[in-house]
Symmetry: C2
Subunit: 213 residues, 2 copies
C-alpha cells in the first residue's frame, strides 16, 4: 500500500459517486464493466484500482452496491467528518460556503476568513467572518482539519502559510497558483482554468484517443 | 500521438502554469528538475511528458522559459480563443462569470443561461441571461465552443443534453454528477467535493507515499 497512484485515488472517488447514484436508484448489484463505462475507463482499470485495497467482488457475480460503496467510503476516510475553513470570502468563497449538500458529505464548515474589513464580522451561511490572524486560535478551538483557499493567485501563498502555521492538515486550493507547503501537508488543486485547458487540448485533437490505463 | 495519458495533459497544464509564473518573474531558463519540484512529480516524468510532443530542451542546458511556454500553449490549443456559455446562474455560475482574469486566458464568456424566470433577462457580468431553449440559436450565432454546467446534480444531465444538442464541443462539469455524452464530446469534471475526498484519503493515510510516475 506504499505506492498507490494518485490517479487511482481520483478514480475511487468517481467509482464512489457512481455507486451513490446506483444506490439512490435502488440498484443493488453492479459490475466492473458498468463502473468502467460510467467512469470512462477500462474494466481492467477498475479491477486494478480496487485490488490495491483488497478483494471486493465475486468472480462472475460482480459487486454488491451498498457493500462496495461502504468499503470505498472507509478507504477514502469518509466514515468520519472533517472540519473546514474557507480563506477568502469573495464570490467564490461565498458560493462554496452556500454550496447545497455541503454538510451532507460530512465536511462541516467551521470558519470563514477574509482580510477585508468590510467582510470581517459579517455573517455568511450562519458563520461569522474573521481576520486570518484569528486562524491559529479558531483552528485549535474548532478542530479545523482542512483549509480552502479562495483568495486571488497573488495572496494564495500567504493564505497557505497561514493555514499551515495554524496547524491544518490539508488544503483545497482554488486559486490558480502553485503553492508550496511542507510535504506532510497534502494540497489538492481545484483549478477550473486547468480543466478548461485540458478541454481545449481535447477539442483541438479530436482524433486523439485517451489512454485508459 | 495516439495514446497520451490524460494525466500527461493535466501535468502539461501545471508545467504551463509554472512557466507563466517564471516568466512573470523575469526568469529566462529552467530545468526539468525545477519544473518537477514545483509540480511535485519526478524530473523523469517531466521529460517523459514533454517527449510525447517533441524535443524541447537542450541536454545540460535545460529549457528556455518563453519558448517552452509558447510550445505548451500551442500543444494545448491555447493559441486561439474559445467561446464559453454557462448553464446555471446560481452563486457558482455567478462566481465564475465574475472570475477575475477569466478573459485573459482566451476563454471568452458569450452566453449565460438559467431556467429561473427571475434570472432570465437579468444582466450578469455584462451579459443577458437567457432560457436554455435559446441555446441552439445562441451557440450558432456566437460560435460557442464550450459549455460550463453549474446547475444542481439533478439537472446536470438535462443541461448536458441541451448543450450537446445545441452543438457545443466540450463541457466543463461543475455539478457533482456523472453525465453521459456522445464520445466525441469531451467532458472535464470540476468537482471540488472529489478533491475534498482525495484530501480526506491522504490525511487519513499520511504514511502513504504517492507514486510519482
Amino acid at each position: 500500500m506504499s505506492t498507490i497512484p494518485t490517479a487511482t485515488i481520483s478514480r475511487l472517488v468517481t467509482y464512489l459517486r457512481i455507486l451513490e447514484q446506483l444506490e439512490s436508484q435502488g440498484i443493488k448489484r453492479t459490475s466492473s464493466e458498468h463502473l468502467a463505462e460510467e467512469a470512462q475507463v477500462s474494466a481492467f482499470q477498475v479491477r486494478k484500482d480496487l485490488a490495491y485495497f483488497g478483494r471486493f467482488g465475486t468472480r462472475g457475480a460482480g459487486y454488491t452496491v451498498p457493500t462496495l460503496r461502504r468499503e470505498l467510503r472507509r478507504i477514502l476516510g469518509l466514515t468520519r467528518s472533517w472540519n473546514v475553513a474557507i480563506i477568502g470570502m469573495g464570490r467564490l468563497g461565498q458560493a462554496i460556503a452556500n454550496y447545497p449538500n455541503f454538510d451532507s458529505y460530512d465536511f462541516i464548515l467551521k470558519g470563514l476568513f477574509d482580510t477585508d474589513p468590510e467582510k470581517i464580522g459579517q455573517s455568511i451561511s450562519g458563520l461569522e467572518v474573521f481576520h486570518p490572524e484569528q486562524l491559529p486560535r479558531l483552528v485549535k478551538e474548532k478542530g479545523i482539519d482542512i483549509g480552502f483557499i479562495t483568495v486571488s493567485p497573488e495572496a494564495a501563498q500567504i493564505a497557505a502559510d497561514a493555514l499551515v502555521q495554524a496547524g491544518i492538515r490539508g488544503i483545497l486550493n482554488f486559486a490558480p497558483a502553485v503553492i508550496n507547503v511542507p510535504k506532510e501537508i497534502h494540497v489538492e488543486p481545484v483549478d477550473f482554468l486547468a480543466g478548461l485547458k485540458r478541454l481545449s487540448f481535447y477539442i483541438q485533437n479530436p482524433q486523439l484517443k485517451e489512454e485508459l490505463a
